[in-house]
Each structure stands twice: as C-alpha cells, then as structure tokens.
C-alpha cells in the first residue's frame, strides 16, 4: 500500500532562478541540493512537509537535445502540468507575492463553493494554484 507522496517534479528552465522563485517569492523551503558532476538534484518543499518537489531542467543526460527543445517549448507555452498548494490565507498571500515583485497572476483571489483560490505562473510558465479550502459564501460568477 502506498502511504505517502514522496517526490513530485516540475520542469523549469533554470534551477537557480526556480529556487529563487519557489523559496524567496512563494515561501517554500529548500530541500535537497546535491551535486554530482554536472548533475544537480535540487528540491523544495512546503515548510514542515516531507514531500519534496524536484526542480528538473530538460536536457542531458535525461533528455536528448531534441526532446529538451520540445520540453522547453511546452514549458514556456504553459502546456505542462503545474502545482496546487493549500494556504491558510490566500488573500494575504496574494498581497505578499505582489510585494515581492510577483505580477504574473492568472487569477486574483476568487471565492468558490470549495474555498478561495488564486493562480500565478512561475518564471517559466508553469501554472501554480493556491487554495484556501473551506466553505465560502459565494455567488457563482464567471
């Protein structure tokens, strides 16, 4: 029986730039940072959580150059999967992100029947959703 999600992965174009965004802007913490030759195993995680999010770059030795080109194209077109986080105060987080210079929002905080959520993109085009779960009095709006 599987008991826990241990590592998830997201493709980025530059690991240092990704680390800066996910830690200094989004508020995650740095996890593993192991270098072996030209390879770097770099992860971030929600503070206090055990699930690591691997920041992976397209390219050798995992991908041949043609595949890496395709992946970079898909990342920057926003066509790859993203991440969904939970937060305790989405509206407060929205203001915090803006104060940290983040302006690539796909959706401002919005109330739904399942809670309040917002959307933002990382510097490369990956979609990030942040949800404050809970019943919220709302009226469906487009």
């Amino acid at each position: 029986m599987i008991t826990k999600l241990n590592v998830a992965s997201i493709m980025v174009l530059n690991k240092d730039e990704a680390l800066d965004f996910y830690v200094n802007k989004l508020g995650l913490e740095k996890g593993q940072d192991v270098k072996q030759g030209s390879y770097r195993w770099l992860t971030v995680r929600v503070p206090g959580d055990v699930t690591e999010i691997s920041l992976a770059e397209p390219g050798p030795p995992v991908h041949d150059e043609a595949t890496a080109v395709q992946l970079r194209d898909l990342i920057t077109k926003g066509a790859l999967g993203g991440l969904v986080f939970k937060a305790d105060d989405v509206r407060g987080m929205y203001e915090t992100l803006k104060s940290r210079g983040v302006n690539d929002f796909t959706q401002e905080p919005t109330d739904h029947f399942y809670g309040t959520d917002m959307g933002v993109r990382d510097p490369f085009g990956n979609a990030i959703r942040i949800l404050q779960q809970g019943k919220v009095a709302h009226k469906a709006r487009a």
Binding site: L13, K77, A142
Partner: protein, 150 residues
Amino acid sequence: MSREVEGLNRRLLRARDAMDRSYAEPLDVRAVAAVAHLSEAHFTRSFRATFGETPHRYLQRRRVERSMFLLRETDRSVIDICFDVGFTSRGTFSRTFREIVGETPSNYRLGNGPMVAPNCYQMWAMRPVVAAGRARRSSSFGDAAAATAP
C-alpha cells in the same frame, strides 16, 4: 530552441492569461498584443503559430466557456450572461455560442446542470471545441475588429 523563442512563448502566454482574466471586458487585439510587446499583426501571427488558433478564436472560446459555466451554475437570464462574459449583443452571442457548442444557450442549459469540480479545472478543461464544421467568424474583440480578425 533559442532563448528568443522561449521569451516569445512566455510573452504570448502572458497575453493569453490576460484574455483569461479580462474576457468580460471590451478587449481589442491591440491591447492584448501590447501585453506581449508585439504589434497587432505580429501578435496575431505568432499567437496562432504558438497556440494553434487566433487570439480572436481563443477569446471567443473563453467567453463561451464562461457562459456555459454560468448557464450550468446560475439562473441568470441568457441576456445577462451574454453581457457578463463580454459579448455586446445577444445576436452575436447566440450565433457564436451555436457555432461553437452546436446548440442554443437555452438548450444547453436544459441539458446541463452544475458540475462539481474546481473552477480552475472547468476553465482549463471545459473550453469548447467547435461543434461542427468550421465556425464562421464573428466578433469577440468588437465589431470593428471583426473585419480584420484573422
């Protein structure tokens, strides 16, 4: 792929996101192109090459998707929903909806109830494809843009 192409993709994605956020407002191609720092013609050409459809069609499908959401989730009148999602005339809305969905807004409402799924999923996955044949062009960017929309 060059950094230049990656940068262009990223700017076009920002423009597409702007349409997703502001679909209910009276958008014009020039304003959306400005988000990508491109001329109107370059933007339209590049958007189509990158995302497989013109910005005009993308906006139409976004507006229709949002109208489908409101038809399923609310009891607002069709005419109110038409204006809620950025169309400026009932005729254009009904024609565009039928072209894309394949039935009238009222018929769609009769056959579809609320969908228990996160809004982001519905926006992502429920944008309709054109129902039958090639849809005629109609204006989502405004009547003036209809003649020039690619």
